[in-house]
Amino acid sequence: MIARIHLRLLAAIPIALAVSALVFFLVEASPGDPSLLLLDPNASPHANDAQRAILGLDRPVAERFGIWMRNTLTLDFGRSFVDQVPVRDKIAAALPSTLLLSSVSLAIAFGLGLAAALASASRPRSALDHVLSAIALVLQSTPIFWLAWMAIAWLAVGWGWFPTGGTVSLTSTLEPGLHLLDRLHHLALPALVLGVAFAGEVSRFARGALVDTLEEDFVRASRARGASRRRALLRHAFPASLHSTISLLGLSIPYLVGGAVLVEEIFDWPGMGRLLVGAMVAKDYPVVAAGVVALATLAVVGNLLADLLAARLDPRVGVP
């Protein structure tokens, strides 16, 4: 099983390379000269030529493309224009925060979304079902950044339940237990916002899958054998519907990653999103380019993992 996971995840490499190529062409299409950004505005044109040579910008496009792709494969994205730190180190520092935020949000979205879907599917077309479906539809249509600011205004500032942003309080003690609690407290609100925003998506998929599964013969058969409605729903239909919910959700992983970028920016969460947006403001192009490749790869890997999980949960597939 582990070997198979590794094999499937190799499929992410060509996609990451394709994204990397795309980014290269976007950079090529950009009108300015990135080298000038690094330079004192009063420097002579010769100084800029020298700098272009150092950056490798004086070589032909085809050669630079080859170098860029090779560097992508070895995860070497050069150094930041702003502070000369290797871009790889910046990304390695930011990636865990994004993974933590996204996975906790995904768990929250799953919990809320599946609960809503079960409530909906237990009585399809009831008033409760209609209300829950409407909430899911509106959640999918509401800008997540407005949700985030409302959460900050009411839950953090108004009622003081949560900190407004960051990862840790200034007054945090170094005592391990309290420190961990403090960090979780900071994680809670961004994860809740992203999770609630994504729960609409989960509940729409899960409701559809559940309602379809409830029509299937094996669920009817369990009812015929005397299983209660509740048991047929929870023990028979629900586990059998999970795989199609998850494979549909795999397609939405890119939206989750995009949402994480926004939520990080608003809550000052030190992940890939804040790194990317900050680098864009500072015109730190190596960081922007590498950040885009990294986030796209993250989404692709998440998508593949969802596919693998869905295949494993599909009751029609034998144990691998």
């Binding site: 795309l22 999918q140 249509s141 926004l262």
Partner: protein, 268 residues
């Protein structure tokens, strides 16, 4: 084609917003970009005399800004959706008609685009290529064509085997004639469905970019930028950010309802 009640609601809301946006210069009570003279008129709540929807921090009339925002947001979203539908029809028709290796390659490319977070690509485009509405439309279009391509491809695959198409081919029409005159017109409803469904995504993406400051620039009022204006004072002046958020949510919900209704109304 039959459209259910949800579809009628969706199309009515969209139509109302499109009309409001189109007529904005004539029906907006004030200039959306010019602050009102009196400082005392800043941050008036909705329902204040003279300002139906209130004013923002610079005493600009929110109703006027919302109307002009509808103009920009809907124009950008509609243009980008038209572009992505065109790309999607071209890719889907080529892949479905050619089959074989070309089909496989085109569908893998579609998969690649589907697995990239759209917001991230749009941010990259904004960073490297520029921030004009034209660039925005081009990149929203270039990141939104995959649904149309998949739908049109599968329609073309099915239509190619239908009897009227076989008959047209039997009558000696060229491949291009059969595709353009007989297959594609019947695949177009699928493209219209995915364009309508794509409208919501385009609106949200544009709003997100403008919110982050990488989309339509001030002093033009785009709904996303308006939310950014009001975000930090949402606890004291909720209306500045919330009214544009409601406008976005209404439009996106309407587009989704309309698209769902069209999809279910597609002739099978």
């Amino acid at each position: 084609m039959k459209i259910d009640a949800r579809g009628i609601v969706g199309f009515s809301i969209l139509g109302a917003f499109v009309a409001a946006g189109a007529l904005a210069p004539w029906i907006a009570p004030y200039d959306p970009t010019v602050p009102h003279d009196r400082v005392a008129d800043a941050l008036r709540p909705p329902g204040s005399p003279g300002f139906l929807f209130g004013t923002d921090l610079y005493a600009r009339d929110l109703l006027s800004r919302l109307l002009h925002g509808a103009r920009i947001s809907l124009a950008v979203a509609t243009a980008s959706v038209a572009l992505s539908a065109t790309i999607g029809v071209a890719v889907g028709a080529a892949a479905g008609e050619a089959g074989g290796a070309l089909d496989a390659v085109a569908m893998r490319i579609t998969d690649v685009f589907l697995s990239i977070p759209r917001l991230v690509l749009l941010l990259a485009a904004s960073a490297f290529v520029g921030r004009s509405p034209a660039v925005l439309v081009a990149f929203l279009g270039a990141t939104g064509w995959m649904g149309a391509a998949r739908l049109v491809r599968s329609e073309v695959r099915v239509l190619r085997e239908r009897e009227f198409v076989l008959a047209a081919r039997g009558l000696g029409l060229s491949r291009a004639q059969v595709l353009l005159r007989h297959v594609l017109p019947n695949a177009l409803p699928a493209a219209v469905v995915s364009a309508t469904l794509g409208l919501g995504g385009a609106l949200l993406s544009e709003a997100t970019l403008s919110f982050l400051g990488f989309g339509v620039a001030e002093p033009l009022a785009s709904w996303g930028a308006m939310i950014a204006d009001g975000a930090k004072m949402i606890g004291t002046a909720w209306w500045v950010a919330t009214l544009p958020a409601i406008a976005i949510a209404l439009c996106v919900t309407a587009a989704n309802l309309a698209g769902d209704a069209l999809r279910e109304g597609l002739p099978r």
